[in-house]
């Protein structure tokens, strides 16, 4: 009898151990596999950077096209003197507006800026697409770019997050960035402003911001992994 109990307790302890020991790993985000295991394709940081940079370039290209198509379709008279005070809802995000400024900025700061921008545009683009659904002709004319754009922003944000994780894992980036990852924090502040923007302005603002993201990512890459391509 005591032997049985003993064995049972040992087994139960072992089981508990297994359960609890494995949990922390599951609680965290699935780490990028560092070993060359079967089915686990390891990407280098440079590769990851290249991917997100390409993604951002594509996104900027679509936003550029959509902006000119919108202008062509809805606003044929282009000459609008004193056009706009560009009231982009992301104006409160402090972004470096030059090469030196971007280079002088810390990696973490720059990464944060990128993420902030990407997070800030997810909802506005979605709603923009929703508002465009009434204009079926425009959707055909623009080949449904608004939908693509909103998807791309979402995907790019996830990609940048992956890069950040990798950098943090490699010790390049401190862990201070992670606290700002949750999108809800961004949405809560100044979320209503974008509803006031006109669509045309929205497109202009997004076009500029996507260019910012692309350039910041390039600067970051060439600072962190200065391989060929810089």
């Amino acid at each position: 009898m005591p032997g049985n109990i003993r064995s049972v307790s040992v087994v139960s302890v072992a089981l508990l151990c297994l359960v609890f020991c494995s949990q922390p790993t599951t609680l965290d985000a699935a780490p990028l596999c560092t070993n060359a295991e079967a089915g686990c394709h390891v990407l280098s940081l440079a590769n990851l950077f290249d991917r997100v940079i390409q993604h951002s370039a594509r996104m900027h290209g679509i936003s550029n096209d959509l902006h000119s198509e919108f202008e062509l379709y809805f606003l044929p008279s282009k000459n609008q003197i004193g056009r706009v005070s560009r009231n982009c809802h992301t104006s409160n995000i402090l972004t470096p507006n030059g090469k030196e400024n971007a280079q002088r900025m810390a990696r973490e700061e720059l990464t944060e800026v990128i993420l902030k921008l990407l997070v800030a545009w997810r909802d506005p683009l979605w709603h923009f697409h929703q508002s465009m659904t009434h204009f079926h002709d425009f959707i055909d004319f623009s080949s449904n770019k608004s939908l693509k754009m909103s998807d791309m922003v979402h995907e790019l944000r996830k990609g940048v997050q992956k890069v950040v994780e990798k950098m943090q894992m490699l010790g390049i980036l401190s862990n201070s960035v992670s606290s700002l990852m949750s999108p809800e924090a961004f949405l809560a502040s100044g979320s209503a402003e974008w509803r006031l923007m006109k669509d045309y302005e929205l497109l202009y603002c997004f076009r500029r911001d996507s260019n910012k993201v692309q350039n910041y990512l390039k600067i970051l890459k060439c600072r962190i992994v200065p391989e060929d391509g810089c």
Partner: protein, 516 residues
């Protein structure tokens, strides 16, 4: 003093008058509006603007550029007018992702004139300079290819990642009108493989920053692709021309000597020709000559004189030929040149043998003299013809033919001595019982009467194919009637069967008519 005061008072209005006069004379006005305002950033870090001034209105005009940035309300003036009618913004004054509003103002004494404002963001006015140092390298070793290399514009910083360049080049053969474009993303070199040898190519390169506008094309660079040395045409032309000379010479020789060549290749087939006959002679037409040619020169085979069979007969009578048994009514034909040698004798027909045997048996009184004739070996044993008898026979031949009731006519040639002769005179053997004796001479005409002996001699020596061929020893008369080939040759004279036989008394000959 009064004058000085007057001048003082009059100074101002005078001046105004002068000015008014001047203005009326020159039509001075405000400056014209500055036009074509443009701005460009060649490196995405600085930019410059330019404009075209309007008329100056006859007065010294000053152009000023004012700008305003987004978010700032202050209007600032151009930081650097480093060339006329342009303004340069350095890095300090350059910001991206902010909107600039630029305006140019021309002002003179009479007023100001402003241009249209220009609003732009730096990322929209990026346009790099053209690439530099375009070099072309041609290689025709294995695969002919052209390597093009260039440098990015010197003012662009590509290390920081701030600028991503992409390049484009175009190439065309000098004589073509169509350019071929190739894109090279960030590389500053490019290799083209589909080049033709011996062609001059023109190459131009341009670049762009991110997705901005393309730069200008570089100045055209020329390159000539050389030919392969071994396909040098002049060498082959030389070889070809040298090999052509002997060929031509051979052809000329061939043409000049075509007859000889023709003879060699196609030897002439000899035309039919009669030996000894001259075609030209025939053509001349003289009959005597022709006849001479045709006949004299020919060699005719030796011919025995022959007799027309219809005309010569032998009377075989019982009286003369006592040796002949009466029962025997056979007609015997003995060929002219029959050799009645013992060997030949054996070849004779059975009838003759029988006859001879009979005669042999029946005649014992034959003289031995006829042995020399050797016509019939058996005959001599019995009825040898001696000379006298032969003569007698000859004489018999002269006589008139006495019909012989029993037998028919036999035409038998006679011969005598020559049959005694040895076989050296035999020309050939024709048939079983025939010996052709040699005689080269053409037999002469026979005089049956007076030259019997000669005739006989001749007979014995000559031979007639026709006669011998037809004579059989079987007991029939069959003289082939043949024309004499030589008209000078008469036919046979009297025909005597073997004199021995005649002498043996078997037959008697008719006197043969002269046959010519």
């Amino acid at each position: 003093m009064v004058c000085a005061r007057m001048v003082k008072h009059l100074r101002l209005p005078l001046l105004l008058l002068l000015l008014a006069l001047a203005a009326e004379c020159n039509s001075m006005s405000k400056p014209g509006k500055p036009d074509k305002l443009g701005c460009r950033s060649p490196d995405k870090e600085t930019f410059f603007c330019w404009w075209t001034p309007g008329s100056d209105g006859g007065l010294p005009t000053v152009h000023r550029l004012y700008y305003k940035t987004e978010g700032r309300e202050t209007v600032r003036q151009c930081p650097d007018y480093h060339t006329a009618h342009s303004c340069f913004f350095s890095k300090t004054y350059t910001s991206i992702w902010v909107e600039y509003t630029v305006i140019v103002e021309a002002s003179n004494a009479l007023g100001n004139t402003s241009s249209d404002p220009l609003t732009f963001d730096l990322m929209d006015i990026v346009k790099p300079y053209a690439p530099e140092n375009v070099t072309l390298v041609v290689s025709i070793e294995d695969n002919p290819h052209l390597t093009i290399q260039w440098h990015t514009p010197s003012n662009i910083d590509t290390k920081s990642g701030w600028v991503t360049l992409k390049n484009q080049l175009r190439i065309k053969p000098e004589k073509s009108k169509i350019w071929k474009n190739y894109t090279s993303d960030t590389q500053t070199h490019f290799t083209i493989y589909n080049i033709e040898l011996g062609v001059v190519y023109m190459v131009e390169v341009r670049c762009a920053i991110d997705n901005s506008a393309w730069s200008e094309w570089t100045n055209t660079t020329f390159v000539k692709v050389p030919n392969f040395p071994r396909t040098d045409n002049s060498f082959w032309i030389l070889v070809f021309s040298l090999s052509l000379i002997p060929l031509l010479a051979a052809m000329i020789i061939l043409i000049l000597k075509r007859k000889t060549v023709k003879k060699y290749i196609l030897p002439p087939v000899p035309a039919p020709k009669i030996r000894g006959v001259d075609v030209q002679l025939l053509k001349s037409g003289r009959s005597e000559d022709v006849i001479n040619a045709m006949l004299l020169n020919q060699r005719f085979p030796v011919m025995m004189p022959w007799k027309d069979q219809n005309e010569d007969y032998l009377i075989v009578s019982d009286k003369e030929t006592s040796y002949l048994p009466l029962e025997k009514n056979k007609i015997f034909i003995l060929p002219v040149a029959i050799t009645l040698d013992s060997e030949v004798q054996s070849k004779e027909t059975s009838e003759v043998d029988r006859f001879l045997k009979d005669s042999e048996s029946s005649s014992e009184e034959s003289s031995d003299k006829t042995k020399s004739s050797q016509l019939l070996t058996k005959c001599p044993s019995t009825n040898v013809l001696n000379d006298e008898k032969a003569n007698q026979l000859k004489g018999v031949t002269e006589k008139i033919i006495q019909p012989f009731g029993i037998s028919g006519y036999v035409d038998i040639p006679r011969h005598e001595h020559t049959l005694e002769a040895d076989y050296s005179q035999v020309n050939e053997v024709n048939g079983d019982n025939i010996l052709i004796t040699k005689k080269e001479n053409v037999p002469h005409t026979l005089d049956t009467q007076g030259q019997e002996g000669g005739v006989l001699d001749d007979y014995s020596r000559k031979h007639s194919d026709s006669v011998n061929a037809s004579i059989r020893a079987k007991g029939y008369i069959d003289w082939v009637n043949q024309k004499p080939k030589n008209p000078y040759v008469t036919g046979h004279s009297e025909i005597g069967v073997c004199p021995q036989l005649v002498g043996c008394g078997y037959v008697d000959t008719f006197p043969p008519p002269a046959v010519i």
